[in-house]
Symmetry: C2
């Protein structure tokens, strides 16, 4: 048995696969749970189909906006709909920049065309926007406004960071991604470390995907329940079942967990133990 070196694209695909396979992850599609419209196979199919976009990012062939758009396009063909939009927002800069520092440098260089491409990617998905969003992706006026104001994709993310924790990663230096990678190192190797990292991130901040879908109070309550799980005061399987029944899925924490796995794998974290 030899440990073969992985390309960055393979590492990103592996991160996506490991995240969705890990369980229990309260509320999310995992090895033991599907939602009616989005199943394990959809997440795993995206893991296979996204590769050409990741390889282009790895080789610096394209800009952030167009590469995110390409990743979404390649993985929107199945009936599961968008599975990893937030993950691509985090992974594409990491692949382009070969790490956190490089990712932040690439993010600072985004321009108006990246913003336009990003909105085109958004339009391919059914991703939920905050109801008070002035820049509605389905509104052609938004594109005009972006051009008139000369907004870069980083500007868009700063604008969205109030209500979107994935966007916030762009503006705060991948803070939760870094924390997630540290959690993986702290909690050993393999599947259980992923579950621990996920739960600690869920306990750290209200998941904004939940907030957009169910309101801020539900996101805060889920965070508090996660804290109880981390403290050993609540059963993780019971919380999982409650979330699944209520349709409460912490999709943004899942996206950040994928980015954290990608970073940790690059730092020698062992998925296989």
């Amino acid at each position: 048995m030899t440990d073969l070196p992985l390309t960055r694209s393979e590492r990103a695909q592996l991160a996506m696969m490991l995240e969705v396979s890990a369980y229990p992850k309260p509320g999310n599609v995992d090895r033991c749970h599907d939602y009616a419209d989005t199943r394990l196979e959809h997440f795993l199919a995206s893991t296979i189909f996204v590769r050409p976009a990741f390889e282009r990012a790895e080789h610096g062939d394209g800009r952030i906006g167009s590469l995110i758009r390409e990743a979404v396009r390649l993985t929107s063909g199945h009936a599961g709909g968008n599975t990893h939009f937030g993950a691509y927002i985090l992974l594409v800069p990491l692949l382009l920049g070969d790490g956190l520092e490089g990712a932040l440098a690439a993010i600072r260089e985004t321009d108006v065309e990246d913003a336009i491409d990003f909105y085109a990617a958004f339009a391919l998905t059914a991703v939920r926007m905050g109801s008070d969003d002035e820049l509605d992706v389905n509104d052609p006026e938004s594109i005009r406004a972006i051009r008139e104001r000369g907004m870069t994709l980083l500007d868009i993310m700063e604008y969205s960071s109030r209500s979107d924790m994935v966007a916030r990663e762009w503006t705060n230096g991948y803070r939760l991604t870094r924390r997630g990678a540290d959690l993986l190192h702290e909690h050993g190797c393999g599947r259980q470390a992923i579950v621990q990292a996920f739960m600690h991130l869920l306990a750290a901040e209200p998941d904004t995907f939940i907030a957009k879908k169910h309101g801020y109070e539900v996101a805060v309550r889920t965070m508090e329940h996660a804290r109880e799980v981390v403290r050993g005061e609540r059963d993780i399987a019971a919380l999982d079942a409650e979330c699944i029944v209520a349709g409460i899925n912490p999709g943004s924490i899942a996206d950040i967990t994928i980015a954290a796995i990608y970073v940790a794998l690059g730092e020698g974290w062992q998925w296989d133990c």
Copy 2:
């Protein structure tokens, strides 16, 4: 939502992913069952890591023996050990030949070097040989014997086909693979069609992987139990549990199921419904 065309390599990866995700499949690693040393993640990691070998096969860049060896090499790096050796034996000719007819033509052209490469691939795995095998992969004398007798890889498969149903696919025109693809078409779309195809194949012939590990009688008994499941006289989940406890895993039927999914996908069978 658009249905993007898949490359042959992506289709082969998708077939591997769909097979291992489908459940319940009595005795095998699936979404709900791991073995201690080989887990779902190992099978899915192989699905990601094997791609370069599949792409070379798709582009005709290499011979059957060396490409099987490359597929095994790329996917032997994790602690799960060999996960898909039999599947590669079936998929590589299908990728090279772009279908069953082309696969059989490619198989007829194998030579002594393919046989030698195949034995080298074998040596990378812990795949079980029949105890009465004269050509032991761990015996350098076997390589000498292959050269002296001028045995092609097809000769090796003919030799192995007595005790190995994957090898038999090479010599009987992919008969069970074809049957499996027909079963997928018959049973509709998606996960449940895969389970049905798997169960009908398991009910058709004794699994030779089980026979090598536990003896022919156990393989026959498992086949008979599968027949009872197909006839509605035995519960599939109960059979699954019995097989898992006894370590009875129909690995060769799983390999043939992967090839069947690959063929069926190429004929328009829908995995996503």
